[in-house]
Amino acid sequence: MEKQEVQSRVKKVVSRVLKMDESEIADEANFIFDLGADSMQSLELVAGFEEEFDIEMDQDKALEIQSIDGAVEFIEVYL
């Protein structure tokens, strides 16, 4: 899968979980600091990524992902 496609699908998940317009989500945006995700939403994001890409991620490591860029990089390893 192309990096750009991974990024686009990550943004789609983030947009759905955080109820934001995709256009408001910058590539380097931090889920908490820039997008205001709370701890529950962070868990929802991990679940959302797993569902979107049909993968099973290491929960602890996945929760350390803080940004769109970081998520893309992390998910690419599983694909």
């Binding site: 934001m20 931090n30 908490i32 600091f33 997008l35 205001g36 350390e64 803080q66």
Partner: protein, 710 residues
């Protein structure tokens, strides 16, 4: 260049007196820390601008919110970061970019969670240094300033306390909330209330100095879980007390004895970290408290009442038993029961019934009402022989409790003498106690607590406040000679110096060591013995033998040359049998010490306070009763003498039971010199001089055995 300390003092001004506050990481979710802090600031009627900063919200609690702190158009004096620790550094970075110098980091998830948290703490410290930011926290409850011109509750406590004269600092945030609740029930007010959490940047020392200059603060209370730099804390306390005359009361939790059992020396095993902490606080003039109740009992005395001129107290009671209890407690605390003047006696006789006791403690009798309390109080407060008044009340059927409380308040307003109260009971006296506490009259459930509080007040104002610390610097020491022995031992990889080498070091520092020499053969032993004179003592020297007596390695009172030769071989045979693997360096032949009083001196190095000196009586006093005293080196003039005078067995040295007084001046000199040695050689971890024999006044003392560990 401005030091971090100076920077903190400057930046603390805006932590406590900001004109604008940003809450960075605020949310709209009620019942969460980020929301409650916004709400508390708004509720506290803060006299400044409030800016919630939230990535997603447009407004929080009806106040416009900003996406980033850098988006705020106006200057911001104080930022309170409530973001999770994973991103708090990003918020701090933006604070730096915005030019905010004063920050409180509430977020947890730092040093207290382990390695990851330690890294995060280092990261925020680095950012703070880059931008000259000072921050309180992380992992804290926040800060409260009750000054009516500020009114800032930048915390997630349930309620803002009343204004008052007590400055409270706490390493534990949770304890803060309990203290606030406790204090509210007793109408205890605070000037500043600070939870400093992990103290990664601003420490309790910085805050103590800030409170030293704070006009609203009369007494400083501190709850501490760890002492990071004991020496700095001691120096700070001394300076704060000397410059401001404000008392410092500390609860230091974690009274454990772990570690002491593993120590190799006597001094090491006797000096638990808590005993050292006790000693250090006492030296620095800090009043250490065991619990919150004791702390506030004493704080009320300092904050509410004028200091006593001396320790003569008068007791007024409406019941005999409590009067006796109070008298006992007062005497136990070293207070004097005042003797009334003739004028006072006459007045008491005139105003009290014939059945009343008009001598101290004054019993106004069970049926006393407010007028009788007033008459007794007025007469006694005007007596020059009285420095403080204890008013006791027990609730009897005719006792008009509230009216008596009102009378006490009235008299207290007209006198410059401290009045303390104890309305004994609970339900019936509650309204009276409430009147007293609302009017800043210290009240105590138990007369014993009342007497302890008065004693602390008296001791602080008359024995601690005016005392100036002057360490003694001993000049006539041969530091090079001592260093040479230590270096030699270090190079050979040994960690223990025995008597022969220890005595060279102690001798170089002017301690009275006995004449002696190391013999590696019977012939050498005889030569040494002849040189120093008979009788002599002979001791095995081996790094592998800790208990020389148990292995037959010590023989005393060897009378002549022939005996020295025989005993030399006897010692070697004994040791060969009991410790066949031991490496023998030789036999130390030394003059025999005359009989005298055996005492023990020692050095231990504490992680927080540095070198510590120990003194105690030898033999069973140290083994069983652990009658020893510690002091952090260097020692001041009074410190060394106090060590000797404060042990329980001191009377033995002062000349009890027909004995001549011991040469304590010589002991004081030894303590100074040992203190100097401890300061000069940080590589000495532990040292025992056990025993040192002290002779009658004017005859000095003698070091009999010593061991140094490094």
């Amino acid at each position: 260049m401005t030091s971090r300390f100076e920077l903190h003092q400057e930046n603390l001004k805006k932590i406590f007196n900001p004109e604008s506050v940003a809450i960075v990481g605020a949310t709209k979710l009620k019942g969460t820390v980020p929301y409650d802090i916004v709400e508390n600031i708004l509720k506290s009627d803060f006299n400044g601008a409030v800016y919630p900063v939230s990535p997603r919200e447009k407004h929080i609690a009806s106040v416009k919110a900003y996406k980033y702190v850098i988006d705020i158009e106006d200057p911001v004096d104080l930022a309170i970061i409530v973001f999770p620790s994973a991103v708090a550094h990003m918020a701090l970075e933006q604070c730096g970019q915005k030019g905010i110098k004063s920050v409180i980091i509430i977020s947890a998830g730092y040093r207290e969670i382990g390695e990851k948290g330690i890294e995060r703490e280092a990261q925020i410290k680095e950012i703070a240094e880059k931008y000259d930011i000072s921050f309180i926290g992380p992992n804290c409850l926040g800060v409260i300033n009750t000054d009516p011109s500020v009114n800032l509750d930048a915390s997630f406590a349930r309620q803002m306390p009343d204004p008052g004269n007590i400055g409270f600092l706490s390493q534990s945030g949770a304890l803060c909330t309990a203290v606030l609740d406790y204090a509210r029930a007793k109408h205890i007010g605070f000037s500043k209330f600070i939870s400093f959490g992990n103290k990664a940047d601003i420490s309790e020392i910085d805050l103590m100095f800030y409170l030293m200059k704070d006009e609203q603060t009369k007494v400083i209370l501190l709850y501490l879980e760890e002492v990071s730099d004991g020496k700095a804390l001691m120096n700070a306390a001394r300076e704060v007390i000397a410059q401001s005359g404000k008392p410092i009361l500390i609860i230091k939790s974690g009274r454990t004895s772990e570690g002491a059992s593993a120590a190799a020396s006597h001094t090491g095993s006797l000096a638990g970290s808590d005993e050292i902490c006790d000693a250090a606080f006492e030296q620095a003039g800090i009043l250490r408290c065991d619990n919150i109740e004791e702390m506030f009992n004493k704080a009320m005395a300092f904050a509410y009442q004028p200091p006593p001129r001396s320790n003569r107290v008068a007791i007024i009671t409406n019941a005999g038993g409590p009067g006796v209890l109070t008298t006992d407690a007062a005497v136990k605390e070293g207070l004097e029961i005042a003797r009334f003047s003739e004028e006072t006696t006459k007045l008491l006789k005139r105003h009290l019934p014939s059945t009343a006791n008009i001598k101290n403690p004054v019993d106004v009798i069970g049926d006393a009402r407010a007028d009788r309390y007033n008459a007794a109080l007025t007469a006694i407060t005007n007596d020059d022989a009285v420095d403080g008044i204890f008013v006791i009340l027990t609730p009897q059927s005719m006792t008009n409790i509230d009216a008596i409380a009102e009378e006490i308040v009235k008299v207290a307003k007209e006198t410059d003498k401290p009045i303390y109260t104890s309305f004994m009971g609970e339900a019936d006296v509650a309204s009276g106690i409430d009147i007293l506490l609302r009017n800043k009259i210290p009240h105590y459930i138990l007369p014993e607590s009342m007497c302890k509080a008065f004693e602390s007040d008296f001791r602080f104002h008359h024995k601690i406040k005016g005392h100036r610390f002057k360490p003694v610097k001993v000049e006539d020491v041969d530091k090079e000679a001592a260093a040479k022995v230590l270096e030699g031992a270090l190079q050979s990889g040994r960690q223990v110096l025995e008597e022969d080498e220890a005595e060279i070091i102690l001798g170089a520092y002017g301690l009275p060591v006995l004449k002696g020499g190391l013999a590696k053969s019977a012939e050498e032993a005889i030569e040494v013995a002849k040189r120093i004179g008979f009788p002599v003592a002979m001791k095995i020297m081996s790094d592998d033998i800790i208990h020389k007596f148990d292995t037959g390695g010590v023989i005393l009172d060897v009378e002549n040359e022939e005996a020295v030769g025989i005993k030399y071989q006897e010692i070697l045979d004994n040791v060969k049998e009991k410790a066949p693997e031991a490496q023998i360096r030789g036999i130390w032949v030394t003059e025999m010490a005359h009989k005298g009083e055996e005492v023990i001196l020692g050095i231990k190095r504490d992680a927080a306070f540095g070198p510590v000196i120990m003194f105690g009586l030898g033999g069973i006093f140290v083994e069983i009763f652990k009658d020893v005293k510690f002091r952090v080196a260097p020692l001041g003039e009074t410190g060394a003498r106090e060590m000797i005078e404060s042990i329980k067995g001191h009377k033995l040295l002062a000349g009890a039971r027909g004995k001549n007084p011991a040469d304590t001046d010589s002991l004081v000199d030894c303590i100074y010199r040992l203190s100097q040695l401890a300061v000069d050689f940080p590589e000495i971890k532990e040292l025992d001089v056990n025993p040192i024999i002290v002779y009658d006044e004017g005859n000095g003392c003698a070091v009999v055995d010593a061991k140094i560990m490094f």
